[in-house]
């Protein structure tokens, strides 16, 4: 059990909204990572976490003292995000901002990077690589993507990821390792291309 989880007990957010606000801020990044893993769009992920917070505020009396606030909030975020993803699936099409979806629908097939259309700038090789990573991420399952993002972005322990997503620790680790292998496989062709320019001292 992590330090945060232990401190969740006792005076946690079960009834005090100020405590809720503080706890919410503490775990916001992990919540956002879970949301973006499901909805695959930065802006939508922010909306989802906001919606989940509003939902959780209305359910403060259901939070059990002594349990992990972060895990409880994660379940809220997943509930809202999955609902959103289902709705979006029905009326598929638009997406805003940086989206894994737009990249998997139109994966970059040449060295013409997807960011060119977005920014109007001539991006470096790195932008193309980043787009390929986003496209490969989009091809992962939702749980694998959540595990990978929580591990890579938030550096959570596998036990923490498992608790947040309600899966066994070994499964969380397996998801991350398989996801990494998949990404390496997808990216290796580009990565091995001898097109590196620039240098450092």
């Amino acid at each position: 059990m992590t330090q945060e989880d232990q401190s969740d007990g006792g005076t946690a957010a079960s009834s005090a909204p100020t405590e809720f606000a503080a706890r919410f801020r503490e775990c916001y990044r992990a919540l956002w990572a879970v949301a973006v893993a499901i909805v695959r769009d930065r802006t939508t992920a922010e909306d989802v976490v906001q919606d989940a917070a509003a939902l959780a505020l209305g359910k403060l009396d259901q939070f059990k003292q002594g349990t992990s606030f972060r895990a409880w909030m994660t379940q809220m975020v997943r509930f809202v995000a999955l609902n959103h993803a289902r709705r979006l699936k029905k009326r598929r099409g638009e997406s805003t901002g940086l989206s894994m979806d737009s990249l998997v629908s139109h994966p970059p097939t040449s060295r013409q990077p997807a960011t060119l259309a977005r920014s109007g700038d001539l991006p470096p090789d790195q932008a193309w690589f980043d787009d390929r990573v986003a496209a490969a991420l989009a091809s992962l399952g939702e749980t694998a993507r959540s595990c990978l993002l929580l591990r890579t972005l938030e550096h959570l322990e596998y036990a923490e990821i498992a608790e947040l997503l309600g899966i066994p620790e070994g499964t969380a680790m397996s998801h991350v390792h398989r996801a990494r292998a998949h990404l390496r496989e997808q990216l290796s062709e580009h990565a091995l291309a001898p097109a590196r320019k620039g240098q450092g001292t």
């Binding site: 922010e46 906001q50 890579t152 390496r184 990216l187 290796s188």
Partner: protein, 258 residues
């Protein structure tokens, strides 16, 4: 690469190998170029994920998201509502919104009354940043008029105070700008060396990603690690002219208000 080796690589990158196993794997890495390239590729992938998908700063809860009257009017869990609970929740929600609103205004608005300078910045590579800023006239967004302010700006942005030692003749620090480059919160120092624009990008060491500069740009990148920060000096110059004048200093409490 075999499945076992791939698995070992992941455990190694996770830091989950026993010390002896880790040493053995390092040896294996040294002698196996393919394995080494896979490890390097994984680091690049991780860096790309961090660049693109780092979470934004925690926002204030939006007012329209509070439960309007019936907090479950739009989304419901299969649990009956109770009137007393409803009233308590509503008051709690309003109080939370007020507190969060005041708190976030305090956090997001600096003493100067300016909004978060990083808000909404698009990602730019070092090369893009350099080119765009030089085209725009190479004007910094922020000028630190004292060493204390310089130190406290770095401390608040990157968690480590920095000092700029006196620069030699011909080298002039213009000021600071902000960019989403190594991470969404990269600090950029704009300087001129005998009139040539020079940008020094600073960020936390754990967000370090070596830059890729196109040959056409004519730019070079020079790297230094200073404490917990990584610095990249980018310019057409063959050697770094500003980097070596930047050093870590201990943050003092009295500087926070400067």
């Amino acid at each position: 690469m075999s499945r076992d080796t791939a698995s070992l690589l992941d455990l190694y990158l996770d830091g989950l190998l026993e010390p002896a196993e880790s040493l053995r794997f390092k040896e294996q890495l040294r002698g196996d170029p393919l394995l080494r390239s896979q490890a390097e590729l994984q680091r690049r992938i991780d860096a790309a994920i961090v660049r693109a998908w780092t979470a934004p700063a925690a926002p204030a809860l939006r007012q329209q998201d509070t439960p309007p009257g019936n907090p479950h009017s739009k989304r419901t869990f299969p649990r009956p509502l109770q009137a007393g609970w409803l009233v308590r929740s509503l008051y709690a929600a309003i109080a939370a919104l007020l507190l969060i609103g005041v708190g976030s205004v305090w956090v997001w608005m600096g003493s100067s009354g300016e909004a978060d300078p990083y808000a909404g910045l698009p990602w730019r590579s070092m090369e893009m940043f350099y080119r765009i800023e030089t085209q725009k006239g190479f004007e910094p967004m922020w000028v630190c008029d004292t060493d204390q302010r310089f130190a406290s700006t770095f401390h608040s942005a990157l968690g480590q105070a920095m000092r700029l030692r006196p620069l030699p003749q011909g080298v002039r620090m213009l000021g600071l700008s902000y960019s989403h480059t190594l991470s969404p919160r990269t600090v950029c120092m704009l300087a001129r060396v005998n009139g040539t624009p020079v940008v020094v990008f600073a960020d936390r060491l754990e967000r370090d990603t070596p830059p890729v500069l196109s040959a056409e740009s004519g730019l070079r990148a020079h790297r230094r690690a200073v404490g917990a920060l990584v610095l990249y000096e980018v310019s057409p110059l063959e050697s770094p002219r500003v980097l070596d004048f930047l050093e870590q200093v201990e943050m003092r409490k009295e500087w926070l208000d400067k």
